[in-house]
Amino acid sequence: MSTTGEEKKSAPAQPLFGKKERQLLSDPLDNNNPITVQVLGICSALAVTVQMEPAFYMSMGVIFVTMMSNLLISIMRNVIPSRVRIIVQLAVVSTFVIIVDQVLKAYAYEMSKQLSVFVGLIVTNCIIMGRLEAFAMANKPWPSLLDGIGNGLGYGAILMVVAFFRELIGSGSVYGYKVFDALGINYIGNGVMVIPAGAAIVIGLVIWAQRARNGMVESE
Amino acid sequence: MANLIRLKKGYDIKLVGEATKEIVATETPKTFALQPHEIRGLVPKLLVDVGTEVKCGTPLYFPKNQPDVFFTSPVSGEVVEIVRGDKRRILEVRILADGNLNHENFGAADPASLGRQGVKEKMLKSGMWTFLRQRPYNRVAETNIVPKNIFISGFDSAPLAPDLNFALKGRESHLQTGINALAVLTDGNVFLGLKHEADNSSFESLKNVTISNFDGPHPAGNVGIQIHHTAPINKGDAVWTMNIQDVANLGKLFVEGIYDPERIISITGSEIVNPVYTKLRVGASLENAVKNQLKPGKVRLISGNILFGSKVEETGYFGYFDQQLTAIPEGDEAEFFGWILPSEARPSISKTFLSYLTPNKKYRVNTNMHGEERPFVVTNEYEKVLPMDILPVQLLKACLAADLEAMEALGIFEVVEEDLSLCEFVCTSKQPVQNILSEGLTLIEKEG
């Protein structure tokens, strides 16, 4: 399912933000999006998209974890015995997740309550393990860091798009701001967008729109 | 002794134009033709050319993949034309009859004393082998195998079908010899399916055969249905079938040493002036048989019955496996609000027409589709007319999806196009059921 990560030994002297590096950041946003194209990390993505705010915090958490664990694993990649690499990866990821969890609890308690178990579940988010396996284990720290950020961003972007539609249609607001009220429209929130079914349908449509644009077709 | 199998599912389409039980002689036609494409997937290799003189039983061509099987001339005369279609595919081998009916002599013999190899050789050489059909796939029987069983249906339940008991009256000894010959070919049984509580006088004294009686509407007379209920085909099995009139002709081969592919057929249908029986040879031009017989107007002439037959012109040729001609009106008129009005009575298994109040009425049907093709939607109509433990819709969908594994598991080996013809008739979605199955069979025969 994962596609990149084959560019193992790149030339020694290379710019910090060459074309390749920019691609590492931008590809996961669109054509190689972890959720809609790589089909990774869908697990916990959708449960927190009723509103944009929690989705934003969630995205930040995931970006932090992908970035840091990609970096750390990449640094350690040559010393990890392949037999125990999954355990090591899990340990590294869990550590960062615990950091995120504790930070949220300390500085944004309400939000951490709202995200409930989903912060903890970042551990099992396939994006992270997927990128570690597919990229960080085979690449140098700097590209790995970028790849982590890129995929975190790609994940976050989808989360935010889905949350945008769900919040707008479901509650008539954008990031908590009641747009319809501001426009003087008496908007009746659509309850379907608030229940999980709404998330699945919206993301289905987002995938449709994206694939219709980039021409990707799954053979089944 | 004979066991009785009652079938509830099925449907008899009652039509006007049933043949009266008299055999009217018609003049032997001038031209004959064999049409290789009547057998699915058959690629012929010609043995004759334009100008070749042939006798009745002279080989004309053989299938590319079965070089020891000969299709032989049904008549004596001269090959006058090889009609070809796209990519030079051979459509017809035409023979001009000389009117004398000279036979090749294959020599009379008792099948039991000839042994399996001897019977086989005689059948192959004379062309009688080609009337042996092998299931699965309904192909020409393979020469190097021994079939599990051989099945013969003793009645035809199709609309307006000929009464085979009537057709075979007086041919009991040929029939018995034919059965004896078939019995030599298999280690299993020769099964004969008869219609329950009907006049079976031509068959009652037959020996060397296991008789089962079937009771129920069409397609009870289809040999495929009978196989399913007597000794079903499992994966890896091969069984053979033969039309009962051809069994009698097979007997004639052993009794008299000649190949004589003639059948008593019924000329039927609402557009036939005088529906009767007549004698017709395989591949015969129809012109004499239907001369002065077709009513005016747009008429479709069918070699075979309305559920399994080929559209032919008046100057066309009689099918290789058929035993009836049918003529019905073409139905190319659009019908105003035809889908909502009660409409004129027509046969239907649905009860949305008034016709269901008069179940015994006989109809004059036409060839209109009565609707447009749609995806499979309505359920349970195929099941009503297929008296087999087979899920027809699922099987057809597997064929459409080219899912070999599912096709096999759902029983494609047990059916041939003919068995699903009623499913196509009843289909609300107007699906080409037989074509779908046919493509499935072709695919699985090629891949499997």
Partner: protein, 205 residues
Amino acid sequence: MESLFNIFIRAIFIDNMIFAYFLGMCSYLAVSKKVKTAIGLGAAVTFVLSITVPLNWLVYNYFLKAGAMSWTGITALATVDLSFIGLIIYISVIAAFVQLIEMIIEKFSPALYAALGIFLPLIAVNCSILGGVLFMVGRPYSLGDATAFGLGSGVGWFLAVVALAAIREKLKYSNVPAPLRGLGITFIIVGLMSFGFLSFMGFSI
């Protein structure tokens, strides 16, 4: 005090791992193409969930939560709160258990093992398992409740995956717009299915 039956029903339908929380989606989408494999993985998930949830309940209540270790009688341990490292512990318990299951399946059903292939190790990182444990920790469940919840969650996941697999097998004959094929239409099906699973909303007997 909820009855075990209600916890069970709620876990299957209302708090369904797939339809309410989208947990375990990766393997859910990957194995739901054929009913046979779906049944295999579904059974595995059910089994793992119904064992690891109570197992982790014991771990949490006797080792991790504040004051959990008072049973040891060691005063130094009596006030220790280890719940912050819970994540790592739970994951380890799950991983170890899955390893065991994998070995058992490999030994007794090579066919199933071959069919599930790479998905068995995935159970360890199947979010529904960890999710089940985390939900359990967050709720005031007794051991019995936790077992009912774990089993219910598993059954819910099982039903969801086999139903989707049957639907996708049926969908082979449909004519879905090309860009929607695969992931897109599957998500929409999941959405529509989740309507059905809301049947038991507010259910209690």
